[in-house]
């Protein structure tokens, strides 16, 4: 059969995009289930020694209740919070030495950082698994508002993450993703993403 028909194969596979473009730009999104974020996180933290980074918020009190032991880090002061360290993660040169950690939880904080790669390099020192949750760049809610000319985003956020950009970021800094979930809504267009990752 003529090579000319190979054009059709490329069209059918990638909707008319060139192979060169696809190689660079097109990324499959793995199938993953959608979970309740708080339920998932608290389930994973149960009876464990957990460092909760970005700990200011209602989730931390619940985490303290279920975890074996909980540490907290945040840029803002947290009155009355035990085992708490106030740290500006964009500027910190190291993190507290905590030798008993089972798990690090980075909940909805990566998108606040000016230098997330620097933070990932720092937190790698702990050696344990890390859970990251971030808002989804392609959430249906965000898209719906954007279509009406309005951006719905925390005024402190400086980035949006998708499956591919989050994966690329963490892999660039020496991690591999062990588990991946969506949270809130439906897969692909959910409210956010959860990854469980470890050091390479």
């Amino acid at each position: 059969m003529s090579d000319i028909y190979k054009i059709l194969d490329n069209i059918q596979v990638r909707g008319g995009l060139s192979p060169e473009y696809c190689e660079k730009m097109v990324h499959e999104i793995p199938k993953a289930q959608c979970v309740d974020r708080a339920e998932f996180v608290l389930g994973r933290c149960k009876d464990k020694v957990v460092l909760h980074i970005g700990c200011i918020g209602p989730l931390h009190a619940e985490l303290v209740r279920v975890a074996g032991k909980a540490y907290g880090i945040d840029r803002e002061p947290a009155d009355g919070c035990e085992n708490f360290y106030q740290i500006d993660l964009d500027r910190a040169e190291c993190l507290p030495e905590l030798s008993d950690l089972d798990l690090v939880l980075c909940g909805e904080m990566l998108e606040h950082l000016s230098n997330p790669g620097h933070f990932l390099d720092l937190v790698k020192a702990y050696g344990c698994d890390i859970i990251i949750t971030v808002p989804n760049a392609f959430s249906a809610v965000g898209f719906s508002w954007a279509n009406r000319g309005t951006e719905i985003v925390n005024r402190e956020h400086v980035a949006w993450y998708s499956w591919h950009t989050l994966k690329t970021l963490v892999e660039r800094h020496g991690y591999h993703i062990k588990e991946f979930y969506w949270y809130g809504g439906k897969p692909i267009v959910s409210e956010g993403l959860i990854v469980v990752m470890g050091r390479e």
């Binding site: 059969m1 000319i4 054009i7 059918q12």
Partner: protein, 307 residues
Amino acid sequence: MKITHWMKREDSGLVRSTLELAVYEEKQGHSPVIREPSGPVIYGSNGTETDVHSIHSQVNPEAYFDNRPKFMWMHGEALSSVGNGVSMRAIVDLAPICEAFICMRKEEWSTWNSIKRTYVVPKGIDLEVYRPLPDVTDKLSGEPAVLYYENWRGQRNPLFACVAMREVWKKYPKARLHLYNCTDKRMLETFDALIKHNKWWPFVRSLSGPVKDINLLLNKCHIVISCLYPLYARSIEAFGTGKALICPGYREHGYPFPSQLQPESMAAAIVNCWENYDKINYREWAEKHHDVAETVRESVKVYERYL
């Protein structure tokens, strides 16, 4: 002759037809080049100046005033070109830089010729690709097994085919309809609901997406049904594989199984075709009327008038 085809990369009948033209131009000793309207060369060499431009949707503005003859192929149906709000306007805008239009069905000649001088060439398909296959054992169920595989979009859907098959099934209880090539989720849900609510499941036995090997799929059925009207499109591929076609828009060359765009008429045509299946040899019909090699020969003759 160096023939530059301007074509957008998309999964459509237009693209399949354009590629077939290029394949047979090459077989007949010409040098086809395929380019996207945005500029990139998809196939062939762009090293020397082209002899003619063959426009299938848009053309890069760099070619507008290069003094090479330009011909626009009318793949689409004129009413739809107006209806989609875009195509007809684009055609009219490009008409002044074209030498002529080329259409493939004589019924539409007067419409296109009202805009620009239009030549009619036979609507052909690649009969080396669409051919009878021996030993296809995995046939679609039904006697007859009727296949719908048009691109589903808007009014181009198998509703009338389903209603027609209900009538056929009353007369031939072994008759089955197989719906393929549905890529629209809402369309799929609509027909899934229709099949269940209308209790069409005794005779509608497939509701599926596209297949990679269209020729193999065609070889598995007895009759291809299309609901296109007033013209027809690529479902003439059925003839290449030696299968019958029932299509309200197909009434070329005295085809013995015409129908109206109306379920009862389509049902009658299916029954008539099934009862007189051997009245014509469909493969020979394709070779006589729908060989893209002839399409290329005729179109090259048109190009040569302007060189």
